[in-house]
Subunit: 376 residues, 2 copies
DNA sequence: CCGGTTTAGCAAACCGGTTTAGTTACTGTA
DNA sequence: TACAGTAACTAAACCGGTTTGCTAAACCGG
């Protein structure tokens, strides 16, 4: 006896393609089986292990399938194979802000390079109707690369309980998971020491605002760690960084401009600014220009990240380099390793940062006069 | 009689979470049903239409589910609901090059904003082992936004035959589908006229290279249309743009630098460059600087796109603005419209471009001398 | 000509959910 | 008391594939 009646619906499916519009009913494996006079199994074999079939039969099945316009349904295939072939990029920010941040451009480059070479697609997952956990529940991925998930995030426990293999980037929120970190403390310390060493005393910090549900930095998050290191290094130089001198905004050029304008109009007239992102640093430079300041003569600026653009600003941006692309690559590499050999000890990677001195930093104005450099 | 034996496996599943590691076997709906003493149907209702259950029962089921750490399997759910809640972004380039291109950053912002507000996730689909069609076959999406699919692409027919709702951006390869275009011709013409009007005669075009399997522009592709319009407008001004004066490279700062260096060292010393991408224009500016040229005194540069960075270069970049963000938004909007009411006439959108004159264009050097501006 | 192996293909079980079409018990009405 | 209507829940079918276990025929050496 052949397949049950519902397993074949050749009459529903036109043999020829109706000219570009999506057809009413997509052909199923049973339709192909019926048309080729074989079982579903045979059709499945023809696609997945043709060597198990007589070559002629396999050939014929594939021809019939092509005529019908049949493609194995990817979702059904995922269900049986128990893998999706997709890697999820999990971010607590909205995707529209992610993509506006040049840091992510670079990070995604690395992720994409690694994912592509292993044949994985990339699914970007951000809070769904405000809930990260809900979005995670809907995501059809083999595992996550979670970037910048702050320790204090309200939904973090639910995300962890989802139980998918997850590699954290810029976060240590799940101690038992693999993660990729960058030596933010050293980077921030180098930036602060550089500025303090140039004689600056009146310093402002411009930071990336924490993602939506949160209102302040967790001391263990990236920005919190950077801020802590700025503070410590400045304190060592005898400078007290008060909260009023730490401004936050979106990690974009506009965000940096807004921060600087706000500060300047509030009467804060620093001689140096430590920015936690290059995009914001570039914004600061431009806003400073609007107020007639010249960089680095009147204002020194240090960025963070060393995005491509940093070397092309004028003057070129002094910044802290972190291997952003590599961060993405490593994260995917760790994830794939974990996916392959399940009970793998989660690996952990710490990447270095370093100070790149370019043209946006100079001795503090007061100091320059002392050493005989005339202010114009 | 209760469910079949295989439908419940309470013994496989620990009640408590074993401390962060992914559990061996994920609880299934039958496990919850068994533990709560109800049917699978009831569990499904508890999650999807709780009003169909006694509130207390629903509550109890959800509690049991939570204890077991049960989440409905998203792939199984997709299969029955016949929707994925995901929009695919289809690009013929590798993702690593996509993310390195600031144009895509902006475009993705628009796509993400529109997708997010409708609760859709974003899946990036690029050639899998060199084949776009194969990647399309694996993609679990409700529809595609295909960007920059050139008309002559070898796999285009297979992509179309996949039969998924698709909106094209910067391409008219599928005449029967909806698409979002930008008035590239007018933009390119304005750029060329601007340059010709400034007296330039020695002009170079720097273009974005076509995606991997292709080697030259299709005249109907974005870059082909822009090139055509450059040519026409220059011809009108009596200038013949020969093929040797059209260089292509990756759409990045480095790509622009490479193009300029190659040209300059080959003895091409133009007074103006028309770049088909802002990133490349920025690269050209820097490479020109390396050769001691001053912009716009010695060399005029016009970009294309008007990315964020364009207004922050020095001098700020003269360019053709196209509403890139909006392009992404419109594409998703059209796609969602088509997904909702199936037999919708595919919409088509044409967005304007315009010339933004900033600081990188000036009269041709020879001309300046004539009008009395001394060359230093 | 015989037992053993290989080849080719099939039916049924399975992946993990949702949905349809009931069934049962209870409530309200005439 | 009978009957309709509803609330609460369920068994079985279904989504569209893959995989397992099996059978029948062809092949093979002795």
């Amino acid at each position: 006896m052949a397949e049950k009646a519902r397993d074949a619906n050749a009459d529903r499916v036109g043999l020829t393609d109706p000219g570009g519009a999506a057809r009413a009913t997509r052909p199923r494996i049973a339709d192909v089986a019926h048309a080729a006079g074989v079982s579903k199994t045979a059709v499945s074999f023809a696609f997945n292990s043709p060597q198990r079939l007589n070559p002629e039969t396999a050939e014929r099945i594939l021809e019939v399938a092509d005529e019908l316009g049949y493609r194995p349904h990817p979702v059904a295939r995922m269900l049986t194979q128990r893998r999706t072939g997709t890697i999820g990029i999990l971010t607590p920010q909205a995707l529209s802000v992610v993509f506006s941040n040049p840091f992510f451009g670079l990070f995604n480059e690395g992720v994409a390079a690694a994912a592509e070479s292993s044949g994985h697609a990339l699914l970007f997952v951000s809070p769904l109707h405000g809930s990260l956990a809900r979005a995670v529940g809907r995501a059809t991925v083999d595992g996550f690369v979670a970037v910048g998930l702050p320790e204090g995030h309200p939904e973090i426990e639910q995300v962890r309980r989802a139980g998918l293999p997850t590699i954290l980037v810029d976060s240590t929120a799940f101690p038992a998971h693999g993660f990729v970190l960058v030596d933010d403390e050293t980077g921030a310390r180098l930036a602060a020491e550089h500025i303090a060493g140039l004689g600056h005393r009146d310093i402002l910090v411009v930071g990336v605002e924490p993602p939506a549900p949160m209102t302040s930095y967790s001391p263990d998050g990236v920005m919190g760690r950077r801020l802590g290191a700025y503070r410590d290094a400045l304190a060592t130089a005898g400078i007290d960084l008060v909260d009023e001198r730490v401004l936050v905004g979106p990690a974009s050029i506009e965000g940096g401009m807004a921060c600087f304008r706000r500060a300047w109009e509030d009467g804060l007239h620093p001689t140096a600014i430590l920015a936690m992102s290059d995009a914001m640093a570039i914004g600061v430079m431009h806003a400073a220009g609007e107020f007639g300041l010249s960089i680095p003569r009147d204002l020194s600026v240090v960025g963070f990240d060393d995005i491509d653009m940093a070397r092309y600003t004028s003057p070129p941006l002094t910044t802290i380099r972190q291997p952003v692309r590599r961060k993405g690559e490593e994260a995917v590499r760790l994830l794939l390793a974990q996916l392959e050999q399940h009970p793998a000890a989660p690996e952990q990677v710490l990447l270095p940062t370093r100070l790149i001195v370019r043209g946006t930093t100079a001795p503090a104005p007061s100091l320059r006069e002392e050493v005989g450099v005339a202010a114009s």
